[in-house]
């Protein structure tokens, strides 16, 4: 197979996707940071579940349910059969000492209870971590955007200024770099670059 793109009628899916991603990124800034964080976190969490390749019912449960019901060890002796369920429950409870002579499942039931509680803790911790990671990503995105905007603005001012201004600015910058500051007044260019368009 040729590993090259077929020249076609001015269609370039990479370019289209770039534009789609750009417009999608612009749209995201219109959302509040909280909304965006929530949305990112949900998407991240779903990807995490997807990548874990869990059996579908469990994946669905994790998606739907925030916390699993702690396992109740008493359910070992309960029967949900209609009609004779309560009778079976009584018989099981009565026979419990005899069953215990052969096999004691009580520690196992308590261990399952403990594990359910721990699993709930882990699930919450994972959700919390995903949320915090998403919040950091959103924060980074905003910071990067702000830095980019500042850099762009400064560069534009620098380019728009005349050669005299530029020379003055370069001299001032050079002095500052070398620890020299003969002029205690801030340079005009720098004072003009105070954040006015925040």
């Amino acid at each position: 197979m040729k590993d090259v793109k077929i020249p076609s009628h001015q269609i370039d899916v990479v370019e289209i996707m770039k534009k789609i991603r750009q417009s999608s990124a612009n749209n995201r800034t219109e959302l509040t940071r909280d909304d965006r964080t929530r949305r990112e976190a949900k998407s991240e969490f779903q990807t995490l579940i997807q990548n874990a390749q869990l059996p579908e019912p469990i994946a669905e449960q994790i998606k739907q349910q925030m916390v699993f019901e702690p396992y109740d060890p008493r359910t070992l002796y309960v029967s949900k059969r209609s009609g004779i369920g309560s009778l079976i429950g009584i018989i099981r409870r009565l026979l419990r000492p005899i069953t215990k002579m052969f096999l004691n499942v009580d520690p196992l039931a308590h261990e399952v209870y403990r594990l359910t509680a721990l699993n709930n803790l882990y699930l919450r911790a994972i959700q919390d971590l995903v949320h915090k990671t998403s919040a950091l990503q959103v924060e980074m995105y905003h910071n990067r955007k702000r830095t980019g905007r500042h850099r762009g603005r400064d560069e534009q001012r620098y380019n728009n200024s005349g050669p005299n201004h530029r020379r003055h600015r370069e001299r001032t910058h050079h002095r500052r770099e070398s620890g020299e500051n003969r002029n205690p007044q801030p340079a005009r260019m720098n004072s003009a670059a105070e954040p006015s368009a925040q």
Partner: protein
Amino acid sequence: MKIAFAIQRYGLDINGGAELHCRYIAERLSKYCDVEVLTTCSRDYITWKNAYRAGVERINGIPVRRFEVDRERNPDRFGRLQDEILRLPHTESDELRWMDEQGPASTRLIQFIKKNQDQYQFFIFFSYRYYHSFHGIRTVPHKSLLVPTAEPDSIIHFKIFKGLFHLPQGFVYNSVEEKRQIQCLSSNYQVPGDVVGVGSEIPDVSDGQAFRRKFNLDGPFLLFVGRIDENKGCGQLFDFFLRFKAETDSPLKLVLIGAEVMKIPDDPRIVHTGFIGDKDKFDALNACELLIMPSFYESLSMVLLEAWGMGRPTLANGNCRVLMGQSIRSNAGLFYTNYEEFKRSLLYFQSNPDAARMMGENGRRFYRENYTWDIIEQKYLRLMEKVRN
């Protein structure tokens, strides 16, 4: 020249990707050489229960030699073991135990290969991860070709496969991404290989209206073809589609073709046709606006190629490198990695019908240049010639 194809299951009623791929290739190459298929008696890929009779039968003119599996797979035990191996540090012997548990373990098949290796010039093994390939290639490495059908999952990182990928005399890859992945993992750059993939029987004529009438469909629709399964990304597709419908006034419906493995949301805008024949499938491709492929893991999507063969644009999950790579190389489809991109890609297709049509044309051209049967057959023959010399 006599060649043998070795595959985990084989039959007209088996529609798994690799199995169908193997059957198509075996039938096509039978024009040029004597072809035989070596496989198990299994039909079910969960338990590998012996369902077909052992012995030789002919399927579409190809002799198929079946061998019983030694034991069925215990899905629970296998699931527990796999889970343990994927999560915890483990040794190669654990991985070998995983291989035995996974199956389909047929020592008779491997013994047959060992005893009768002189009868065949090549053994073409399909699917690197199964018992027949792992032990078969180690039995006849000097006559083996491997069609790995590898997905970028955790299994491919097992240590036992690193050595295996150095043994065959040649590789038939499904995609450029698959080739890169296997070469990066095992450094088997010295083993010759070609990116080939698989062709399809694209009909000259198809009737989109017939499909619409049959399933009582009107208006534009997205099409999904395949197993409706969480592992195929369908859960995310349903979430995204319903959210898209809630946020926009798009008339698009979602039509699903394939067996239902997960619950489909009860919504009138999602239509499930069940499993249908090839004619209906191509009619559906003719009728749809675009094909959607939400899977996270694919080594090659045959239905994506079929959509392109039919001149339809596609929208694929960009988290799957293979799907994204194919879409970029063909210049015939968009790809999304999150909901916003999904939504905007669909809106792009809706508001730019000319661009969608041109993408479809690109797809058709890409299919004709790379995936017609003549090209596929010649690539196989060339690789065998190269290995023989």
